[in-house]
């Protein structure tokens, strides 16, 4: 199990942390959640199904526990994002400014998404999971997560 966990962490550390950060809204709490989850996972047997979903699910539960314990429903809004990476195509300074503006709008829009759609966006777009995996993480069918993701995208587009 340890080798498997190491492999999953190395491949998905960013996604795991983003998921925890999206739930807790605090960088420190997110790190605690990931750490707690792996502490729990170390002693367990390997899961029967998809191990990646299983690890994400454990991190999600740890993050929810920590968030409930520490914040008691108070919404923290530490952003998931840390700036904008300009694409190589945008050599034009005007388009770069435009992209930066879009980035600001997008960050705000994502952070203000409803919780369920926010998680769907994080799991699919930021953590790179499939709809099936994201559904496993949240304990809902893949179709439901797909529709939440689409609704989330629609909301984001409405900001432009």
């Amino acid at each position: 199990m340890s080798d498997l966990l190491k492999e999953i962490y190395e491949g998905h550390r960013q996604g795991l942390f983003s998921l925890a950060l999206a739930i807790t809204g605090s960088r420190q709490s997110a790190e605690d959640a990931v750490h707690d989850a792996f502490t729990k996972l170390i002693g367990r047997k390997p899961p029967v199904g998809d191990a990646i979903s299983y690890v994400f699910k454990t991190v999600r539960h740890s993050a929810i526990d920590i968030h409930r314990r520490e914040q008691r429903g108070q919404k923290l809004s530490e952003s998931l994002f840390n700036g904008f990476i300009p694409s190589e195509e945008s050599v034009d300074p005007a388009s770069e400014i435009l992209n930066k503006e879009r980035d600001l709008i997008l960050r705000k829009a994502i952070d203000n998404l409803p919780e369920k759609e926010h998680e769907a966006i994080v799991l699919k777009a930021l953590a790179g999971l499939t709809f099936q995996q994201a559904g496993n993480v949240m304990g809902i069918p893949a179709k439901t997560i797909a529709s939440r993701y689409r609704r989330g995208l629609e909301r984001l587009e409405n900001h432009f």
């Binding site: 340890s2 080798d3 966990l5 190491k6 962490y9 550390r13 960013q14 795991l16 942390f17 983003s18 950060l21 960088r27 997110a30 790190e31 990931v34 750490h35 792996f38 502490t39 170390i42 002693g43 367990r44 530490e78 952003s79 998931l80 994002f81 840390n82 700036g83 904008f84 990476i85 300009p86 694409s87 992209n99 879009r102 980035d103 997008l106 960050r107 994502i110 966006i121 777009a125 930021l126 689409r150 995208l153 629609e154 984001l156 587009e157 432009f160």
Partner: protein
């Protein structure tokens, strides 16, 4: 949904720089995953506790059993010795021994059902019907009571007061 906007939003999402976990978290998690424990500490503790309890219980049982066995065997040996030295007569105790119990049938009731008694016990009955006769209880080791000589018939001794 405008199909032209969708890829744009997803593209923008992919271009966002995300907050990364700290090196400290990376190190901790990798350290944890490198140390492969043999057992979950809770499970290990529970298993250890189980063995300890079992061992202690077995040890205490063995000690108690040995002690009880030793005491029982000691008391049996004492009882046998008493019976072996038992000499009674129809008139009462003989050989100057005067413990008041000699000659009673109940005194030899210890022999009932005991399988590993000393083989011979002698009883001398003095009566006026004839010369003193010695009755011996033949009881071999390992024999059950039913297989031994009938004790009651052999060792019926009149009560001293009769």
């Amino acid at each position: 949904m405008n199909p032209q906007k969708k890829p744009q939003v997803e593209k923008l999402l992919s271009q966002m720089a995300l907050q990364e976990p700290s090196e400290q978290l990376d190190n901790k998690v990798l350290e944890m995953t490198c140390q492969q424990p043999l057992l979950n500490p809770k499970v290990g503790m529970a298993i250890g506790f189980g063995w300890l309890s079992l061992t202690l219980t077995a040890l205490i049982s063995a000690l108690v059993g040995t002690g009880l066995g030793w005491r029982i065997s000691a008391s049996l040996a004492t009882g046998s010795a008493d019976v072996n030295s038992f000499v009674g007569s129809s008139d009462g105790p003989v050989d100057g021994r005067n413990d008041g119990l000699l000659g009673r049938e109940s005194d030899i009731s210890l022999l009932y059902g005991q399988e590993s008694q000393i083989s011979d016990e002698g009883f001398v009955l003095h009566d006026e019907m004839g010369p003193a006769r010695i009755y011996r209880l033949q009881k071999s080791r390992g024999l059950r009571r039913k297989q031994s000589l009938p004790i009651r018939e052999t060792a019926v001794i009149p009560m001293p007061e009769i």
